[in-house]
Assembly symmetry: C2
Homo-oligomer: 525 residues x 2
């Protein structure tokens, strides 16, 4: 592999500034462990001087042993007019006992005179003093030159002086920050090239995505000689976010020939991304480059044909290289070549031109019009094909159900109850259950009734439940689409239901999920 | 304003390839109207040769008059070995009667020999013939050189020959496509610079986002001399999407000095983005540069202080310049300076250090821990503050409710019914309603009961209803967060509720919405 680029992740610090993120201490520990296992070089984990929760985190992990990464505590240069030893924030940083620290300081004259209101001279001393003090304590020190590019554009000589002060103080890395995210890629390249010619210690880059350019700007900085790249693993951050490391890393390693992670960890990039999104309580964006669910999903008919001939025709890197997978989507645009594969599983004699194929396509279009989306719900599609081809034998029929929700409810009982009556081969079975809400109650009652006939249902767990309001402008009478993911410990499958009533939509998806399980059991026999 | 860059939007064609998008003909018309009003130059609306729905669309709008934009039909060069006049796809394109067409053809030798399986020579003739044929029919013709950058890297001479064939045939624009989205910004700049030196007609650029670089690549191409930029308005597209025009346009116009839209339309960019996302049935990503809800949202305590002093300290452009707005977020990170402003609306004597402020902050943290998120739900926060300060007089109490869901239900009645009993100043009122599902029934019954006491409730409509499953791994027993947006025709407000029961969560949000309306009415008196 090529030259090493140091990966500096700030998901736990700058990422925590994102709207909608609120990490618990346990969340932070899980993110830290995931990043360390991946082989990230620096994990910036918090700002002990400004956030009490971060102090708790650093206390909790004082004895944690990381395999590879250096843990980083973040803070600012000493305040103006005081001695470094009297600065409470720096004391809080030393208290964390992390091997590395990242210290931000000002390099834009406007911020010095108008925001922190000190002199340009004192600011340089604040930087140099703070670096020297932390180096004397044996720290690996990165100086984050906040607003560096805006500062350089306003007063290049002073911006460089700020970096020289940090170099003089003994900093190990100088990270140039595009704090407001407003700089263009060509500007980044030009400015970094100039800076590099004037400084002797290694440079870093820290970009924000306000112009949609954080990834490109980071790559341009590396082309200009930077060797430490800061970002957050999934681009989470204040405003439009930070540079997305899950995009930058494969670009650097798979395209530009640098080394960031081991090959084995690169091939797990997608699952690492899913894990960090989950801990952050965000759904990973389908479109996210390299790691998104759609990144290697083909929908256009011509594209699908070409990818079948040779994947390189419409894929810039192999999906396996980042642990993702190729998906062929079903839709009116993708046409018959996709659906025929599924139809042939049921009846190998049918072709694209068969009348039955048209019938299946028409039914899919009709349901899509009603608000269904089958792209993620293969089990519902397989059942639909069987139904349209007359090959579906229902495993049960739902004769009747009733749900009752009540408030006030006693402390012991749950808020909802459901009664379900099913019929299997002429034999009726009625059962009831309580649950957290009507859907949960119905789910439990239905399973209880079905287990009498189909004991394998006991092994099925619902592993995911998503509700999407389709036409949210209709408010509480809006259509909802429910996606249910189920697992029997070996396989995972997803089914879908649509209705204006969340109970009915759930029931449709639930029924498909159970029928699909029973169908698979039968086929295995 | 500066030199004009032509904006070429393909939301309706390439955007329709995105996973999860399924435009109806009506949707397409609404998107077209929005783009035209904005002042986009070209609207690529479909591929009549491959998609029957697109033919229907073009038939429907044959007599539509666009104010500014040219409508574009998309298709490929003639097939190999046949005469242009015998090509069914080209005939379908001419049938649409659009003033402009975009024709893609091959420029990567690998695609010619391995995918479409014709000779390199015949491919050049296919390009030239097709251009000449469409020019003879009076069309404004753009040639999309598919996979141009991959083609150039593999065989620069042939890739240029393909462009020369199009130029020779009379094309008006040559759009260089990074179809697989794998090219780096510095490569784009170098290649476009070379191409420009060898061709005399204007160039365009068409980027995909597989490497997270589509916006940067488009800007680099403009720096190298391109004058037509293709993309989709919100970056929707196959795999990781297309170049996002809502990001590219403000970069070009506000930072690089080019002209794309009128200033008035630029100042409506955010509402145009929200509209197109809505029609596409996607939630606009909060993080989306310039137009996202979080793009100008500040959460870090130090950042908020600085932005209050001078917005330029942490904003790359003024939010008003793109019709967005600055937001100060409430959270444990933002601290007390945000919440105190809301507290002072109720009690101006309290300060950041008051005991009551701590009490409010603690309650917010506790609820956030339970799954609440107040960042988008200001009305729930305002009520919470009143409750904590003992200044809240409830306008009603909910004594009792019951919901019943049933299947099979007759065709006439809706699937759910609800009974609600409320109390206002000691006076009870019971009422009932049917609805699409239990939430809708409850919503209606509650309003009916309340209108007896508060007639202004009649004017309140729920305008948006969102359900988010918080811990989806708990499946049907998962916690859900319900966000309700309400309007009385003058104001819009949002409230939030969390519970494991979707009915209860909805009821909490509904109650807050109504209480907030009544509170505002009272304060106006």
């Amino acid at each position: 592999m090529g030259e090493k680029i140091l990966v500096f992740d700030s998901t736990l610090r700058d990422g925590a500034q994102a709207e909608g993120i609120s990490f618990s201490v346990e969340d932070k520990i899980r993110v830290m462990e995931t990043l360390d296992r991946m082989g990230v070089d620096y994990i910036e984990a918090g700002n002990p001087g400004s956030n009490p929760k971060d102090i708790e985190f650093f206390n909790r992990i004082k004895n944690a042993k990381l395999k590879h990464a250096k843990l980083v505590a973040f803070g600012s240069t000493r305040r103006g007019g005081i001695h470094v030893e009297d600065d409470a924030n720096l004391a809080a940083i030393l208290d964390t006992q992390t091997p590395a620290v990242a210290i931000f300081g000002k390099s834009w004259t406007f911020h010095i005179t108008d925001i922190i209101k000190t002199t340009l001279d004192e600011n340089l001393k604040m930087i140099q003093d703070t670096m020297a003090y932390l180096k004397a304590h044996g720290k690996d020190v990165t100086f984050d030159a906040e607003h560096f590019f805006d500062g350089y554009k306003a007063d290049p000589a002073y911006a460089i002086d700020a970096l020289l002060a940090a170099q003089e103080g003994g900093a190990d890395y100088l990270a140039l920050c595009d704090t407001n995210g407003g700089t263009l890629p060509s500007e980044i390249f030009k400015i970094v090239t100039d800076v590099k010619s004037k400084l002797s210690i290694p440079l870093g880059i820290h970009c924000h995505n306000d112009s949609g350019l954080a990834v490109a700007n980071s790559l341009m900085a590396v082309e200009a000689g930077v060797r430490q790249v800061q970002g957050t693993f999934l681009g989470y951050g204040e405003r439009s976010g930070n540079a997305n490391l899950s995009t930058i890393i494969p670009n650097l390693q798979l395209k530009m020939g640098y080394e960031c992670l081991s090959e084995a960890e690169m091939q797990k990039l997608t699952s690492s991304a899913i894990r960090i999104a989950e801990i952050s309580n965000f759904t990973l964006s389908n479109q996210m480059p390299f790691v998104g669910k759609s990144s290697f999903a083909h929908k256009g008919g011509m594209h699908i044909d070409a990818v079948m001939k040779n994947p390189a025709s419409f894929e810039h890197v192999p999906p396996e290289s980042v642990g993702n997978e190729r998906r062929i989507l079903m839709s009116e645009v993708s046409g018959r070549s996709t659906i025929i594969q599924l139809i042939n599983e049921v009846d190998p004699t049918l072709t694209k031109k068969s009348e039955e194929t048209t019938q299946v396509m028409d039914r899919i279009k009709e349901l899509e019009y009603q608000g269904y989306q089958f792209e993620g719900a293969e089990s519902s599609v397989k059942l639909l094909i069987r139904k349209e081809l007359g090959k579906h034998k229902p495993f049960f029929t739902l004769e009747d159900f009733k749900t009752i929700g009540e408030k006030p409810h006693s402390d012991e009982s749950l808020s909802s109850s459901a009664v379900v009556k099913i019929n299997v081969d002429g034999q009726s079975e009625i059962n009831a259950a309580e649950g957290d809400g009507p859907v949960n109650a119905l789910d439990k009652a239905l399973r209880k009734a079905l287990e009498v006939f189909y004991p394998t249902i006991k092994n099925v767990r619902l592993t995911d439940f998503k509700v999407r309001v389709i036409d949210s402008k209709s408010a509480t009478a809006a259509k909802v689409r429910v996606l249910i993911e189920s697992s029997d410990g070996q396989d995972i499958w997803t089914s879908v239901g649509v209705s204006t009533d969340v109970i009915e939509a759930s029931l449709i998806a639930l029924t498909d999920s159970i029928e699909y399980k029973l169908l698979c059991d039968e086929e295995k026999k």
